[in-house]
């Protein structure tokens, strides 16, 4: 017997960790697919700012999305992780994929290249004092 999974309690808004235990983002939305005569199918977890802000106010999410498109049109698509990759959920959600192979770090890389690397000491990696 498969245990039911309360999506809103145990998945939505939780921290996603990838296979290397790196932070991927929070679960900002859950993608459901309607099926003829059958219950909705949980397709994917979605992580991106417009999705989160849309839950507060639709227009706010649209504004954030428009701003993102203005800044970097290539990065404006949300990170989606197929639900089959979820291996555990509770206060965190663990997935069995490597986040570096997804677009989860798109904005992180964009800011790193556009700003951080141009500042003094911005190119070094690792921990401070190493």
């Amino acid at each position: 017997m498969v245990e039911p999974l309360p999506l809103v309690r145990d998945v939505l808004d939780k921290q996603i960790y990838d296979v290397n235990h790196d932070k991927v983002g929070k679960v900002d939305g859950i993608v459901l697919i309607p099926r003829q005569g059958r219950p909705l199918r949980v397709a994917a977890l979605q992580s991106d700012m417009p999705t989160a802000w849309r839950r507060v106010w639709q227009r706010l999410g649209d504004w954030v999305e428009r701003l993102q498109q203005k800044l970097a049109p290539d990065l404006a698509s949300p990170t989606r992780i197929a639900f089959e990759h979820v291996v555990r959920s509770g206060i965190d959600v663990d997935v069995d994929i490597d986040a570096k192979r997804t677009n989860a770090y798109g904005w992180e890389t964009w800011l790193r290249r556009r700003f951080v690397e141009k500042m003094p000491g911005g190119k070094g990696s690792g921990e401070k004092g190493e």
């Binding site: 809103v8 939505l12 808004d13 939780k14 921290q15 996603i16 790196d22 932070k23 991927v24 983002g25 929070k26 900002d28 992580s47 700012m49 989160a52 802000w53 839950r55 507060v56 509770g90 206060i91 904005w107 992180e108 890389t109 800011l111 790193r112 700003f115 951080v116 690397e117 500042m119 000491g121 911005g122 190119k123 070094g124 990696s125 690792g126 921990e127 401070k128 004092g129």
Partner: protein
Amino acid sequence: MVLQLALGIITAIGGFLDAGAIATSALAGALFGFQLIWAVLLGTFCVILLTEMSGRLAAVSHHTVADAVRERLGFRYFAIPLVTELLQDVLVLSAEIGGLSVALHLATGFDYRIFVPLVALFLWALLWFGSFSLIENGVAFVGLIALSFVVGSFITPPPWNEVARGAIPSLPLKDSGQYWLIAVSVVGSVLEPFLLNFYASGAVEEKWTVKTLGMNRAIAGLGMSFGAIISIGIVILAALTLGQRGIRVDSFEQVVLTLVAPFGEWGLSLFVASLAIACLGAASDVSLNMSYAVSQGFGWNWSENLKPHEDARFACVYTAAIPAAALVVLFFDPLNVTMIAMALNAVIAPLIVFPLLILMNDTAYLREHTNGPIGNVLVAVVIVLACLFGLVAIPLEVLGG
């Protein structure tokens, strides 16, 4: 372990004292003598209770307050404290940058505005290049110079029976609007909402576990209590020096007298050093908290121990916040900004404290370390008090001028 405990206590003392604590305590002493010491004690009791809980949450679950509020109550709730706390943190940060700039003005005689961009740049560099422990322990150690306020109150001893009477809440004898506004501001300066998430984030940075729960209790209790003793020292000295001369504090410059009276010509240097270090410590804490809250809220990589290349989004939050806060204090008087920020602390406190009551009873996060009935009753009392203060703060701000 003992060293870690001592460092933690010193850091907590440093975290307690800032431009707000100095300004509100001096104002309280100057206008109402020892009568508002109870407000310092009340704020301290609340902050000990709440920081112990946020430290416990972090040590047991390795989740901070911002993390857990979003995860447990959802983004629709989380967005409200996130946005209000960010706006409030910018105001508190501008008060700290203003305080540090005023300290440099007192040391050199130049207009404080000249120092605002330099202070902002120095603060940014400290966060950009410094590790968490360097920033926290280093600044806090130097900040022990603020103990001059305690030493000063023994050099010019007050009537201790009157000081003790001030520890009991009493109704104002004059200017009731101003009395309650300052009381709310004093509590707000101690119970700064950003401290809760900052303290929890520090606990995760320092890798606390269930084994450090005793240390958490000692750091929250002793560190905050020592910090309160410094604030009470300021109230006493302000009552003896400013109050007795009928000086109504309308700028930081007048507060210098609190240390000049007991220490003579050394008083100015001690005051400048105390104000500068207290403000620098608080400015770094509040800047980091903005980065912590946003990064944790959206699930990004975060740690002040990582180089900015590793957590670019985290570093970019404080990089954007510092100039924004510096702009505020370029156009508005630092003492006014400080007083408004402290009163508004009381307004937003319920938004942050209320979720803590839910989180501290969630076994998914706290396992067997959830709150007991006494802890819950005490948090409920703090929530009621915070709501009361929050409701009256803005009308009092208008009435009390």
